[in-house]
């Protein structure tokens, strides 16, 4: 009897294929590549910041305050004679590479990234519960989050940071809280779709608990849209950090914070030395645009051939 069945014998080499496929999506989109180059530039200079400059971010060169770019200082100096390139790349470090918990203890992973990770975690849990359980639990969770979304984002940041004080950890908390409603909504809508699939019915007929269904069966299938959303959110978080810094609610001085650099440098734009404000502004803009390009490129490319 010729029953269909055992067909060609391919040895299993699945994992590398998956990575390869993800990379092929990345490389085939020009938008994503431009974004990746910009983002990688900042990540690399941030990681290797100590080897990229001979100055420290707080070292003052009294001979050359408010100096334009020159051989000694590539991007110039600020009003206290601090090297702007050094401050810029150490500032990128705080955003992307390390989270200074106290003066001596630092966690790997930048402030913006930690903020997004924490909000992802909380948002995903709330979204999963709301979406899967439904009913009054969903109603309560979503209405609370709606109430949060009704407050303008900037105002929410200000309220939170003003209430708990300005420090790197508190900025993480603020970013996390502000990000939760959006992520929860996204995860909830994905959950509502996935929970109608038959593999969820299969899990229910095996008597799996709600937690297993939510975190083992549903959550892994939401990862695609979540990864894209997280990339965009890191961009927003960098933007928010800049805003908070500009308003004097970011990292306490004298730490190199892009937002507060712009705020300080602003006063000298009209006196003929715009550099102190210009470079950090460009840094924020380029990193945010880079992340957006990367996320959009990947999203478009992964949709194209479906």
């Amino acid at each position: 009897m010729p029953d269909t069945a055992i067909i060609e014998n391919n040895t299993a080499k699945q994992k590398p294929n998956r990575v390869k496929e993800a990379l092929s999506i990345l490389f085939s989109s020009k938008t994503a590549m431009v974004g990746l180059i910009i983002v990688m530039f900042w990540v690399i200079v941030a990681v290797f910041a100590p080897y990229m400059t001979k100055y420290t971010p707080t070292e003052q060169d009294w001979k050359a305050p408010n100096h334009g770019p020159c051989a000694e200082h590539v991007l110039g100096t600020d009003e206290l004679g601090r090297d702007l390139w050094a401050r810029l790349i150490y500032g990128a470090r705080v955003v992307l590479v390390v989270l200074p918990v106290t003066e001596h203890f630092m966690l790997p992973g930048g402030t913006a990234i930690w903020g997004v990770l924490v909000s992802l975690f909380i948002g995903a849990v709330l979204g999963l519960i709301g979406g899967y359980k439904g009913g009054w639990i969903d109603e309560i969770v979503m209405r609370l989050l709606d109430a949060m979304m009704a407050i303008p984002v900037i105002l929410l940041y200000l309220i939170i940071v003003a209430a708990i004080g300005a420090s790197a950890v508190n900025v993480v908390i603020a970013i996390a809280i502000v990000g939760v409603p959006g992520i929860a909504r996204l995860v909830r809508s994905l959950t509502l779709d996935i929970k109608t699939r038959e593999y969820i019915r299969a899990a229910e007929t095996r008597g799996e608990s709600a937690w297993v269904i939510m975190f083992v069966e549903i959550l892994p299938n939401t990862r695609g849209p979540i990864i894209i959303d997280a990339m965009l959110r890191v961009g927003y978080a960098i933007f928010a950090m800049g805003t908070l810094g500009f308003l004097g609610l970011g990292m306490p001085p004298p730490s190199p914070d892009w937002g507060s650099m712009v705020a300080k440098g602003r006063a000298f734009i009209l006196t003929g030395s715009p550099w102190a404000a210009l470079w950090p502004a460009i840094a924020i803009a380029s990193l945010v645009v880079g992340l957006n390009l990367l996320a959009d490129g990947i999203r478009e490319e992964s949709m194209r051939y479906q």
């Binding site: 699945q14 593999y199 095996r206 008597g207 299938n221 051939y305």
Partner: protein, 717 residues
């Protein structure tokens, strides 16, 4: 005869050596190649083949709807003698708009839900022709009448969601015919519809063909449907046309091994009950990127090449793997893409083995003995109602009368241990809700259910783990039955770990054993669902359900989403498993031939009730419940000579929230006229089950003898 008339005139459509490719990220993938056919006026060309064989691509190629990444790379498409390939898009649009129409598979998606049907229909006329709105309206009404739409003037004012699926498809057909097109392309127009509605739509297509003299391309995967409406048949395999010829010759003398395989692997309603195996084609349709251009694409699946069959001269098949076959003439009008040519015809196509004897459950003659059989599952007056959502103020205040949708309405059922019970009925009649109630995914509104003497009338969350493992389910949709994030092995291992069916550390062994039992190799352990074909996914779904070693498995339409050749293999597998493990099954399907093939008992459901129940040997011969009779007569038979008339059921399945009084079926019953006063009793009183022999029960007022007489009389005509 029709062809003789039009022999001199230009054919409506002439497709020669058509090849279409799609661009992908890596390279161009050929989707269709070597397609040749001609459509004359008033002629219907059926295009059949499994999914992924390029049927729809041909249609889109003719319409130039290939999207941004598809293009015609070779060949010609001549419409009314005019070359379409290479014509600028603007001109093509004009030609298409007025002369070619298309009917799609899903009527709900083809109609705009936010515009009334009238607006959508009149737009077709006013957009292409210069006529007044009123005139357009009149013509639309006339056309709707033409497609037997009841109350057409009123339908124009309605929105698509307000009419049923069958009526929507009529509107689509009317819309397609409004411009009096020379060519009508129908892409699976009846696939989304129930059998009874399908039969009505097919009758309509047949009528229209005669009246409008339109050339029709009818794309479908269903051989029964194609036999009913087509004059000629094209068989597509893996993007190539492998055989083409007049319909009757194609069904009596198919030449290509693939066509023969297709014809053999469908279960037929007229098959003998003793079959328990179907013919199936080995392997699967190759992916477009794997299709060789220097060998016959069917060679890896071809039994003639591999086993030789009755070939006397084995040298005939030596070219199969080294050269690409061209179309050869079988007879004047019949061509096949096979090196064997006429050689295959010497063996009758239906000589394929159709299997061992089926071991039917012994059905005792009298009722007393019947009750003595050991029941694994008993369902007693089960009710599953849904509250209907009504957002009126009255309802919010709690003043309005509570309305329920009665999905399952008072069903009693006994499942004998070791038997298979098939449940059939149109969509929306409560088949799925019934099994969801049994398995505990829906809460019961009333009634009782027992499995092996233990109560199972609570939802699955409240059941004991040892009870849960005894009852498992296989789902319908192969694409959503497996979690895309985990490899196959882990998904099968999950129930094994959960129910601890084997000792720790032996899970992998057990998974591999299960994979073998569903005829998959051990290396499937590490595969992900997206790397599997539909049939393979369904096998994994079966393996997962069997992993807890249940005493009863519920199959919810496990093969309805599969291609026929794959369907045959999966049905064979289910039968084998049943014989080996002796497990009890509930098998839901809407296809009566499949149910006949697999079941020992059959329950026919209508609007949440069982209207007929009995052993399979008593259900298929008369007497029938009038509903069963209509269902049976609507099944399209893959034989063009069997031009039988189906019993048209008027109207649609009534809403389950507002059932008719008395017998639920009285609004559509074609037989109630035989009762006194035109069946007044049917409107007033619900019937009682008439008990016949072998546990056969019919839920009808008309006496069984009369039903028998009516059915026999109809068969004679």
């Amino acid at each position: 005869m029709k062809q003789a008339e039009n022999a001199e005139s230009v054919p409506v459509l002439d497709v020669r050596d058509l090849a279409i490719s799609y661009q992908t990220r890596k390279r161009d993938v050929p989707a269709v190649r070597g397609v040749n056919f001609t459509v004359h006026q008033g002629e219907t060309i059926g295009v059949v083949g499994e999914s992924g064989c390029g049927k729809s691509t041909i249609a889109f190629g003719i319409l130039d709807f290939l999207g941004t990444n598809g293009k015609v790379v070779d060949g010609s498409i001549k419409f009314m003698g005019r070359e379409m390939v290479g014509t600028p898009k603007d001109e093509l649009r004009k030609i298409r708009g007025n002369n070619i129409s298309m009917v799609y598979q899903d009527p709900m998606q083809a109609l705009n839900p936010s515009l009334t049907i009238g607006t959508q229909l009149t737009e077709v006329l006013t957009a292409h022709q210069n006529i007044s709105h009123n005139e357009a309206r009149d013509r639309c009404i006339a056309m709707l009448k033409r497609v037997y739409m009841p109350d057409p003037a009123n339908v124009l004012k309605r929105y698509p969601h307000m009419i049923s699926g069958g009526q929507q498809q009529r509107v689509i057909i009317a819309m397609a015919l409004l411009n009096n097109p020379s060519l009508l392309i129908m892409d699976e127009p009846t696939t989304a519809l129930d059998v009874t509605v399908e039969a009505a739509v097919l009758d309509l297509v047949e009528d229209l063909k005669n009246d409008f003299n339109t050339g029709i391309i009818f794309i479908t995967h269903n051989l029964g449907v194609v036999a009913k409406v087509s004059d000629r048949l094209c068989v597509m395999y893996a993007g190539e046309m492998v055989e083409e010829g007049p319909i009757e010759e194609m069904f009596t003398n198919p030449a290509h091994p693939y066509t023969r395989g297709l014809l053999c692997c469908v279960p037929r309603i007229r098959d003998d009950l003793s079959n328990n195996r179907l013919w199936s084609i080995r392997g699967r349709v190759p992916h477009p990127a794997e299709r060789s251009s220097t060998a016959c694409i069917f060679a890896p699946r071809c039994d003639w090449r591999i086993e030789g069959k009755n070939l006397k001269d084995k040298s005939l098949v030596k070219n199969c793997t080294i050269a690409h076959p061209e179309l050869v003439n079988i007879s004047e009008d019949h061509r096949s893409r096979c090196f064997l040519g006429r050689e295959t015809i010497k063996t009758p196509w239906n000589e394929y083995a159709r299997g061992r004897k089926k071991k039917l459950i012994h059905v005792p003659e009298d009722d007393h003995e019947l009750t003595s059989l050991e029941n694994l599952l008993t369902v007693d007056h089960m009710k599953v109602f849904y509250k209907s959502h009504n957002r009126s103020l009255k309802n919010i205040l709690g003043l309005a009368e509570k309305k329920y949708i009665k999905a399952v309405d008072d069903i009693s059922l006994k499942v004998v241990k070791g038997s298979t019970i098939g449940i059939v009925g149109e969509s929306g009649c409560g088949k799925s809700t019934l099994v969801k109630g049994i398995i505990g995914l829906e809460e019961l509104t009333g009634g009782k259910a027992q499995l092996m003497g233990l109560d199972i009338d609570m939802p699955v969350k409240k059941r004991d783990l040892s009870l849960i493992r005894e009852l498992q389910m296989v789902f319908q949709n192969p694409d959503s039955t497996l979690n895309p994030s985990y490899c196959i092995g882990k998904q099968i291992a999950r129930p094994i770990k959960k129910f601890k069916t084997v000792s720790r550390g032996k899970e992998r062994e057990e998974v591999e054993r299960l994979l073998r039992s569903v005829k998959l190799a051990a290396y499937y352990y590490g595969r992900y669902p997206r790397q599997l074909s539909g049939g393979e996914k369904q096998r994994v779904g079966i393996a997962r359900a069997l992993a807890s070693r249940p005493s009863m498995v519920i199959y919810d339409e496990p093969v309805s989403a599969l291609d026929v050749s794959v369907q045959a293999a999966v049905l064979n597998l289910i039968n084998e498993i049943k014989e080996e493990l002796g497990s009890t099954m509930i098998f839901i399907a809407h296809d009566l031939s499949v149910v006949k093939f697999i079941s020992d008992f059959v329950a026919v459901m209508y609007l949440g009730q069982i209207v007929e129940f009995g052993p399979v040997a008593s259900i298929y011969p008369p007497p029938y419940h009038p509903y069963t009779e209509a269902l049976l007569s609507a099944v399209p038979i893959p034989d063009p000579k069997a031009k039988k008339q189906s019993i048209g059921l008027s109207g649609d399945v009534p809403s389950a929230s507002n059932q008719p009084s008395g017998c639920y079926f009285h609004t559509r019953c074609p037989r109630r006229k035989v009762l006194p006063e035109n069946g007044k009793i049917c409107e007033e009183k619900a019937p009682k089950f008439q008990k016949l022999k072998n546990g056969h029960k019919i839920f009808c007022h008309i006496p069984a003898d009369k039903l028998l007489e009516l059915a026999l009389k109809k068969n004679k005509i």
